[in-house]
């Protein structure tokens, strides 16, 4: 005997809304009240940010301050300080190009087509090399600009990207060492990871920037910027190592056994079988860690670097724009949002892409 199953007709959008928010008179009332409040907030925000806002520097700070809405003139007047910090004004096109080179490098290395050892090395080598030459100059007729003058978005991006480039491989090494069969290796690594994780990032940055020069011979010190990046990479890798290790624990033991039975060497098993699956498991936590690291770059201000947040402070902190800090912070928040949101969307894309092969 055959049964005929008829699916109930799908409710229309309007009906669905009605059912969810206006089922009873009380519910309808509450919905209406919340709706009014939300509309009010959105209106106020829009009014402040757009309708009553001033966008041009024509009237100067005074006219801007007098306006009822936001004073975006401060951004128009000072965006270069926010994006490029103390970098020499005439050379700021280099800083802009350097930002573009880092962003392009990041976008390229996010594309599956570039996921072979040679291509990714090429992209990263070219990207960071270009950034370095553009920023530092001293060659090809570009005037020299020392690291202490780098700043703004360009510096934030550089610190973030290099932290990840150095920290990620380090994290994988730490995770593998922690998994070692030899107890003294795994315990020592565990101790290092836990040690670094138990320190605040600020104290690590401070140690690398200020204390380390006393302990190291001159030729080993390098510029303060690179020591700070090393410190932040170490911090990143300690957390990321645990994320990777967690991902590895999610790979069934049978996977490595099958690889062994086929005669694969340790590095082949790790590189081809275990890590690709472990990174899948670890992806959400990894994206999380990237996002946190991006925002933590703002801490380098304590050792004297003017990354984007500190540059923002400088942008409104001098003289006539002192009143416009909300606008400056809103602008910086928007820049952070663009980067972090793209990062998390990319994470979502990766998860979708991987789930195709899981099912």
């Amino acid at each position: 005997m055959e049964m005929i199953v008829v699916a109930p007709p799908a409710p229309g959008r309007l009906e669905d809304l009605k059912r969810r928010f206006f089922a009873t008179p009380l519910q309808a009332l509450l919905s209406l009240i919340s709706l009014t409040i939300m509309a009010f907030i959105v209106w106020k925000l829009l009014d402040w940010a757009v309708f009553s806002a001033v966008f041009t520097t024509g009237g100067g700070p005074e006219a801007c301050q007098a306006a009822a809405g936001a004073c975006w003139s401060v951004i128009t007047a000072r965006w270069r300080v926010i994006l490029f910090g103390l970098y020499p004004f005439e050379e700021q096109w280099r800083s802009a190009l350097a930002c573009v080179s880092v962003v392009v490098m990041t976008v390229l290395s996010c594309m599956p087509a570039f996921w072979t050892g040679r291509r990714i090395a090429l992209v990263w080598g070219a990207g960071t090399g270009l950034y370095y030459v553009l920023m530092k100059g001293g060659v090809l007729g570009l005037p020299y600009v020392g690291e202490e003058a780098w700043g703004g978005l360009a510096l934030t991006l550089f610190i973030f990207v290099t932290t990840c480039l150095v920290g990620f491989p380090l994290a994988i090494c730490l995770a593998l060492l922690r998994r070692s069969d030899l107890p003294w290796i795994s315990r020592t690594t565990g101790l290092i990871i836990d040690g670094v994780r138990s320190l605040p990032l600020i104290s690590i940055l401070f140690t690398f920037a200020v204390v380390l020069p006393f302990a190291l011979p001159q030729w080993l010190q390098g510029d303060k910027l690179y020591r700070v990046i090393l410190g932040s990479a170490l911090f990143f890798s300690a957390y990321q190592a645990e994320i990777v290790r967690g991902g590895m624990q999610g790979v069934p033991a049978g996977q490595e056994e099958a690889a062994m039975a086929l005669g694969m060497s340790y590095w082949q098993r790790i590189g081809r079988i275990v890590l690709p699956q472990a990174m899948r498991n670890a992806l959400p936590a990894t994206i999380n860690q990237f996002v946190i690291s991006f925002k933590e770059t703002s801490l380098v201000v304590i050792v004297g670097f003017f990354e984007i947040l500190a540059s923002g402070n400088a942008a409104y902190g001098t003289g006539e724009w002192r009143f416009a800090y909300v606008e400056v912070y809103a602008f910086i928040a928007f820049i952070y949002f663009v980067f972090v949101f793209s990062l998390s969307r990319y994470g979502a894309y990766l998860e979708r892409r991987m789930s195709v092969s899981e099912r």
Binding site: P252, G254, Q255, E257, A258, A259, M260, A261, L262, G263, M264, S265, Q268, R272, I273, P276, Q277, R280, M354, S357, E358, R359
Partner: protein, 251 residues
């Protein structure tokens, strides 16, 4: 490790001992397997049969006695072990296919990175063995899109792509639904008829009767009975073997 290696048994195990902590998993096992011979190992769970065949490709380390495979003794020499593993294929109870690769890639990866075969050659070989296990049309799918029986046949093809001289089967049909057992056993029978050296841990007594040269019964880490299938099923001497057989064949 050349396939033209003249003589000597494929596997020789002498006085093999294995402990897990205080548990004595294998006790003084002696076993010799000739080239081209088909051995079926059976026994109750926990009797050490899986541990025994896992000692042959050193997925388990033995702690007493000698294991010699294709003339090479297994010891701590990693190069030796990797060399042996290239020549000894293994099929697992739970297939252990690589879920992040297609069926074809599963079959190609080891020949490419272990045997350093060019991609085109590896693909030709892979397709040939997928044909042999009768699933050439599934080559571009991922393992999770296949049934258990199909996955196990891919696992057999994957092992065969390394063109091993010995095949180990560790309960290859135990995790399968009944209707899929036959398709896997058929492939194994074909393989046996082509002269492959096979050591199979299985409870498929029909298979044992059809292809085995010798059936081995293990209990509590020891080889209790060892005989050609006819003798094994009709006139086994040991009480424990009889009891086991009545349980496996009884229903």
């Amino acid at each position: 490790m050349d396939s033209t290696l003249p003589s000597g048994p494929a596997v020789r195990i002498e006085g093999l001992d294995k402990h897990y902590g205080s548990f004595h998993a294998l006790r003084k096992i002696n076993l010799s397997v000739e080239r081209g011979e088909k051995i079926v190992i059976c026994g109750p769970s926990g009797s050490g049969k899986s541990t025994l065949i896992r000692c042959i490709n050193r997925l388990e380390q033995h702690d007493g006695g000698r294991v010699t495979v294709l003339g090479t003794e297994l010891n701590d020499d990693v190069a030796n072990i990797d060399g042996i593993r290239r020549e000894v294929g293994m099929v697992f109870q739970h297939f252990n296919l690589f879920p992040h690769m297609t069926v074809l890639e599963n079959c190609m990866i080891a020949p490419m990175i272990v045997r350093k075969r060019p991609r085109a050659e590896a693909e030709t070989t892979a397709r040939r063995f997928l044909e042999k296990v009768r699933i050439p049309e599934q080559a571009m799918k991922f393992p999770s899109q296949l049934s258990g029986g199909q996955q196990q046949r891919v696992a057999i093809a994957r092992a065969l792509c390394m063109q091993p001289q010995i095949m180990l089967f560790d309960e290859p049909t135990s995790a399968l639904d009944p209707e899929m057992i036959a398709e896997v056993l058929d492939v194994m029978v074909t393989l046996a008829s082509e002269g492959m050296t096979m050591i199979c841990v299985t409870h498929e007594m029909g298979f044992a009767r059809r292809v085995a040269d010798r059936v081995i019964f293990m209990d509590a880490g020891e080889i209790v009975e060892e005989a050609p299938p006819e003798a094994f099923f009709t006139s086994c001497r040991n009480e424990r073997t009889r009891q086991f057989l009545s349980q496996v064949l009884g229903h």
